[in-house]
């Protein structure tokens, strides 16, 4: 059984995580002179190497000094031979110059190193920005399309409704009209699904994921009970917060839970777990670099997903549900939302045994 990873959050690339939001990214790009702040930040990462180099140079200088002081120059200086006094002083001066040069060179090298890191980071931020811009314009496009579709649909469905009011005594016509109504409802469902994708203007606030999951469950628990589905909670207490839009995250959880429900028509177990990742690393260094991530898993004991379908489930309109029942937009939208929160989403599934969807989000 292998994890299929669809989107890998930037958090584990080893660099500093991507900017939290497009605004922050913008701020960084539009203020390239704000190097000081960034230098300090990056310096923390680079400094140990340079301490080492400087230390070695110092040792080297000390070695030279000691060597000369042990030679007969020293004795001769003490004996009052002024030529040797000058030489000793010259060597001392040269050592100082050497140390200064070493400092300048290392500083220069360090700056280059930092600049490279900054350019790399800026590329990351730009990519991030482009992605969120793309998402935003895609959102606008879908909202616009949905609106353009709903207007003519209003006329179609209105005319059909008027016809069926007038022709109740013609069963065949009535049936045809019912079918048209049914199909228009399907179109509305799809456009509304697309529209869900369009509200990309996320209002991110620090949120307690456990709390949010609990609230989502409260919405759906009745449904689950009726379907004979047992809910198991494995929440890590005192979980760090995530910066997220509550509505959007709820939407993700709802879809995952409903998918799990649909996968277990004869009942089963739904397990919701949360955990904190990134603490397990040894030493504090890893914590700093990786940053903690919050893991959320939704596991069911349902029908599972055939290996061949695994790649497709995140595609828009991919559904195995009956026509008119599933839109195939659920996971597509979830994925978009998680991506927009700098998170990652993975799925692990085996046919006949069950499925786990795992989300990781950067912790505050």
């Amino acid at each position: 059984m292998s994890w299929l990873r669809f989107f890998n959050g930037k958090g584990d690339t080893g660099g500093k995580g991507p900017a939290e939001s497009a605004e922050e990214a913008l701020r960084w790009i539009s203020l390239p002179n704000n190097i000081d702040h960034k230098l300090r930040e990056l310096e923390r990462r680079g400094w140990s190497l340079w301490v080492l180099v400087l230390g070695m140079l110092l040792l080297f200088a000390l070695y030279i000094v000691v060597l000369y002081f042990n030679s007969d120059w020293w004795r001769r200086t003490a004996a009052g031979e002024s030529v040797y006094t000058v030489r000793v002083l010259l060597v001392g001066f040269a050592t100082l110059v050497l140390l200064f040069c070493a400092y300048v060179v290392s500083r220069e090298l360090q700056l280059r190193f930092l600049k490279r890191a900054m350019i790399q980071e800026e590329i990351t931020i730009r990519q991030q920005l482009m992605r969120s811009e793309k998402l935003a314009s895609l959102g606008q496009l879908t909202a616009g399309v949905a609106h353009e579709i709903l207007n003519p649909l209003n006329v179609i469905s209105g005319r059909v409704q008027m016809l069926s009011m007038r022709a109740p005594h013609e069963p065949e016509l009535g049936k045809a009209l019912d079918i048209i109504s049914e199909q228009t409802r399907r179109i509305v469902k799809i456009t509304d699904g697309l529209r869900r994708f369009s509200h990309t203007a996320a209002e991110k606030k620090p949120l307690d994921v456990n709390d949010l999951l609990e609230k989502t469950l409260a919405l759906l628990e009745n449904d689950l009970r009726v379907r004979n589905i047992q809910v198991v909670r494995r929440f890590q207490p005192r979980l760090a917060a995530v910066m997220a839009d509550a509505d959007q995250l709820t939407q993700v959880f709802v879809n995952l839970i409903l998918n799990a429900k649909d996968a277990m028509p004869r009942g089963g177990t739904l397990t919701l777990s949360t955990a904190l990742d990134g603490l397990r690393g040894s030493g504090s260094r890893r914590k700093e670099v990786v940053g903690n991530r919050i893991l959320i898993a939704v596991t069911d004991t349902g029908c599972g997903i055939p290996a061949g379908d695994l790649e497709k489930i995140f595609h828009p309109f991919f559904t195995t549900k009956e026509p008119g029942k599933g839109t195939g937009l659920g996971l597509f939208v979830c994925h978009g939302i998680i991506e927009n929160h700098n998170g990652a989403m993975e799925v692990l599934s085996r046919e006949g045994e069950g499925t786990t969807f795992r989300i990781s989000l950067p912790a505050v």
């Binding site: 207007n151 003519p152 209003n154 179609i156 469905s157 209105g158 008027m162 509200h199 203007a201």
Partner: protein, 140 residues
Amino acid sequence: METKSILVVEDEEEQRELFKEFLELHGYEVTTAVNGYEALGAVRVSEPDLMILDVILPKENGYRVCRMVKEDQHNRRLQKSFPVLLVTARRLDAHPDRETMFQDFSQADGVLYKPVRLEELLEWVRSLMRGEKVTARHPD
């Protein structure tokens, strides 16, 4: 009982015709306007018993028309305080600012989402004319 009049403001002919035909079928007298200006003019010439307003209109949009009408009613520049029903293909969360959208909407007496269920429309028209409140049901 005298026939009640309804003003339908819609820029698309087909939409206008649909509402007109349907409402006339149920015994209302229907006049139409194709944009915000026309609507404001029509209201001043003869006040309807109810106004049905599309949100996206050329020239003044539906919200603004609605607000102006409500203001005029408030200032007694209009005599009847007839109800206004907004009809829109928009959805709340497609709006960049949900709060103002709610405010915009709150000026109107009701909001129906396209595609409209005609029975619901009729029900709402009847309750609004009786002076009753209707509660919007956002599709979701």
